[in-house]
Symmetry: C2
Amino acid sequence: LKLLTLARDLRRRRARERQRLFVAEGVRSVHELLASPIRVRGALVVSQTDDNLHTAALFDALRARDIVTEHVTPAEFASAADTDTPQGVLAIAEVPDWSLASLPTVEGFRVLVLDGVQDPGNVGTMLRTAAALGAVATVALPGTVDLWNAKVVRSAMGAHFRHPALSCTSNELLAFLAERDAALWGADAAGESIDEVARSGPAPSRMALAVGNEGAGLSTLVRERADRVVAVPIAAAAVESLNVAAAAAILLYQLRQ
Amino acid sequence: LKLLTLARDLRRRRARERQRLFVAEGVRSVHELLASPIRVRGALVVSQTDDNLHTAALFDALRARDIVTEHVTPAEFASAADTDTPQGVLAIAEVPDWSLASLPTVEGFRVLVLDGVQDPGNVGTMLRTAAALGAVATVALPGTVDLWNAKVVRSAMGAHFRHPALSCTSNELLAFLAERDAALWGADAAGESIDEVARSGPAPSRMALAVGNEGAGLSTLVRERADRVVAVPIAAAAVESLNVAAAAAILLYQLRQ
């Protein structure tokens, strides 16, 4: 039961980082994975799930791609699973080798920067949004939850199986942006209204948009180095702020090219 | 231990609906609740949490408002709590008496309609977004998760302690919109691009925007009765769709008045 041991181990961030592997759990995630360019090392399935139509198609796909599949008991599966009610299938795959240097410099270059975002659901949603709105990549700075965390992978619905998603330090990001002549904008409730910013002229053609931690906002370094800090204007007294993934969606859409 | 029994009971939707009560759990949620116009019936606290600065301030606030507070053991608290790592404080409060008839007809009247949205985190995020972007109310149609579910309350971060949020049938909604002379727009990935819609002229001054189930989309009735179906344009082949809360944020922002 080598794959079971590996899947259990990969619940820890350190193990994922050392082995450069991650786990995608559930019928839909594994389907997305198999349809993507990501290399799959193996799959873990609960034997008695074969009777279901969805999983039958999935097992055919695993066989067609010659992917090593280990059969386990429901209790064994649960010991490796991240969900409370597991669907009985997961795959172990290689973390893609994306780097800042490999990102293309396209017209309307947009990068989403996660500056200490903690909630895996928020991070997964933002990966999906950045991919959908045509950002070149999503970059996680220190303090952000691991992009290959099981819940992030689930929430992203396959987004970062294709959309470049990578981690780096703030200094690496700043050097990259300088080298590509790209602006750094930050999102903060106290920033300039994005409406007024839009009225003041077109957004830079190359830009990274940074969103911060759910409680503390942007890090000091990003706040200091940002060329501009923008906000989604909010109805007075209704709520304190938008959810970070909702704000990121609105800002990325407003700043699209 | 009457409040403990009640709090345990209120984990079931049926009990919340019958008693018109809900539970707000955690330091932040209870703070938001106490600062809102909502009537609080009582609070449940774990005795040994007093030493914390945050909770001390909260206990002062509970005392100042003369709210019945029951002290319980950590195990008792956990039996009523919804979170895996409870903060040791929850409050039981009355579901506000909002109705369609009581909603004001303002200029730039916007209502967010949840048409079968299942994920409590998505619903909570959308309540927060609708409140932040100045919508008059959020209306949940049948098939949507209960607006007063503990996880919805937590994700909404106090939004629907002030922002009117209510449930009704599709027919009640349609009658209300007809009576207020308000349009019904639906959100669907196959709809008209919101960019083109914006170019074709101003949005109606009174409008409800409906978003559908995470998997199945809008209900047949809403789809049939919608005056217009709109979409956020998506980068080809990147992902299948946006998260429903991300799409709702972009559309509500684009359609704001």
